[in-house]
């Protein structure tokens, strides 16, 4: 499947890009994050993050579909 992944904050710095297209067989967001963490060397463990799929918060075991937009959300710090 092909996913669009967006990066923010420290993940953006470590990935070196705002967004990328990713080909992966990952069936769940948790598997996809493990793959991308290994590739980019993300310092944040999964339990520090939330995940959003297609613009809304989702569970880590939510089944992924081809074409999904996936965002791994570091701890927020607005305000």
């Amino acid at each position: 499947m092909n996913f669009r992944v967006l990066y923010f904050a420290s993940l953006r710095d470590q990935a070196g890009c705002d967004a990328e297209r990713v080909d992966s067989a990952a069936a769940e967001a948790s598997v996809l994050y493990a793959e991308l963490r290994a590739r980019h060397g993300f310092s944040l463990a999964q339990d520090r993050l939330r995940v959003a799929i297609n613009g809304d918060f989702a569970l880590w075991d939510h089944p992924l579909s081809d074409g999904d937009e996936i965002v791994f959300l570091p701890p927020v710090s607005g305000g």
């Binding site: 613009g55 710090s77 305000g79």
Partner: protein
């Protein structure tokens, strides 16, 4: 009408406050978050806010809907800057109008607490000595 907004330019506080004015409201409480010149003992020179805009907008609106359901208020607004800000700039504004002051204070505090906890916005501080760092919700650095 939008109750939560992401602002790429200075927040129009007077315009937002006008939206809250009402003959039925006897009390208004507002919160302003400014860019401070220091954090955690380090001198800050400027900062950037990144937002995952579609979800930030949706989650901000959810918070404002929750606050209208939970508290006896007339209306509420919140705006949050994104992009590059300097010391003293207004980063976030919350305003609540209500018939009585207790609900206005409680609702205003609820909004800013929830926005800081839930809305996907990230602050990158640039320090006077030249480094920069992404921050946690409690304003400690992400390791």
């Amino acid at each position: 009408m939008s109750h939560f907004s992401l602002a790429e330019r200075p927040i129009d506080v007077a315009g937002l406050a006008r939206e809250l004015a009402s003959g039925a409201a006897g009390a208004s409480v507002s919160f302003e978050g400014w860019v401070r010149d220091h954090n955690d003992g380090r001198a800050v020179s400027r900062l950037d806010y990144q937002a995952y805009a579609p979800l930030a907008q949706a989650e901000g609106e959810r918070i404002l809907a929750e606050v209208r359901a939970r508290f006896a208020i007339v209306d509420a607004r919140c705006a949050h800057r994104v992009g590059a800000l300097a010391i003293g700039d207004l980063a976030v504004w919350v305003g609540v109008s209500a018939a009585h002051r207790g609900a206005a204070f409680d609702a205003c505090r609820f909004i800013i607490d929830e926005v800081k906890r839930r809305v996907p916005i990230w602050k990158n501080e640039h320090y006077a000595e030249g480094e920069s760092g992404w921050l946690h919700p409690d304003n400690t650095p992400v390791e």
